[in-house]
Point group: C2
Chain length 158, copies 2
């Protein structure tokens, strides 16, 4: 397994990134021991990783089914026209929909692919009718209900 060859990221930095990705709340002291540097150095490097944009933030991972968002749905979207204006309008509008976790412009049979979390199928059906098909330029959507989440949000391996 080849590691990133970014010269700014040495072996210590990579270890720190992996550890922080696994446990974002690890104490600076523990992280220092784990990666084999002093607490002072560890603290400095961690700050640098954040400032340099390697770490874009720290988040608590909330269990979806515990907050009434246990139903996952994937939706393929086809737009009426393939113009930049059409894409921009769609993207702007979809960005405001809080239940859309992912939205990607793709090459293939669809224009966009959405990943959506809702309470249940009835909830999705309501949102689909009131929000999704009303998005600017939408010609058609194809819905894939998720029956089983085998892997969701796995950490990056680098």
């Amino acid at each position: 397994m080849k590691e990133s060859s970014d010269p700014d990221l040495n072996r210590i930095d990579l270890k720190m990134l992996r550890a922080l990705q696994r446990d974002g709340r690890i104490s600076n002291a523990d992280l220092a021991v784990e990666v084999g540097v002093s607490a002072a150095t560890c603290h400095r490097r961690t700050q640098q990783l954040v400032e340099a944009g390697y770490v874009s933030g720290f988040r608590a991972v909330v269990a979806p089914h515990k907050v009434e968002l246990g139903t996952l749905v994937l939706v393929g979207v086809v737009l009426d026209r393939s113009t930049p204006e059409s894409f921009a309008a769609f993207e702007s509008a979809v960005g405001k929909l809080k239940f859309v976790l992912d939205c990607h412009l793709v090459a293939g049979d669809f224009d966009y692919f959405l990943k959506i979390r809702v309470r249940d199928m009835a909830d999705f059906n309501r949102l689909h009718g009131t929000q999704l098909i009303g998005l600017p330029g939408v010609r058609q959507t194809r819905t894939f209900f998720v029956m089983k989440e085998v892997v969701d949000g796995r950490a990056l391996e680098f």
Copy 2:
């Protein structure tokens, strides 16, 4: 916007969950001020939220393009047979592939949908040939290269 009606989650808990999802490293003292309770209470409630499974962990969010994983690909998979054994074999095998971030069993034209992160198209092509199509029971795959990540990994809204 209706909030979760879980009796175990009161207004304070919800505020805490939202704050922790936004900033997993917020200090206990700051979080206490933000949600309007004492530091002691805040500390206790946070622990309870984790122990009760509302928070499944804390993570640093690593910028994919900074670690040579800037290319995102969605793949629809169709299996040979729709037997429980076939599904189980596929899921077990796909769970070992570290570059698969999401894997969901879906209803519709595909059996599974995968979300994959790789360095570039060449890297994907290599992995597709050596790993994906070799997964147990795979009849065909359809690849959707992501040309633009409009939204990726948005936080849950509850």
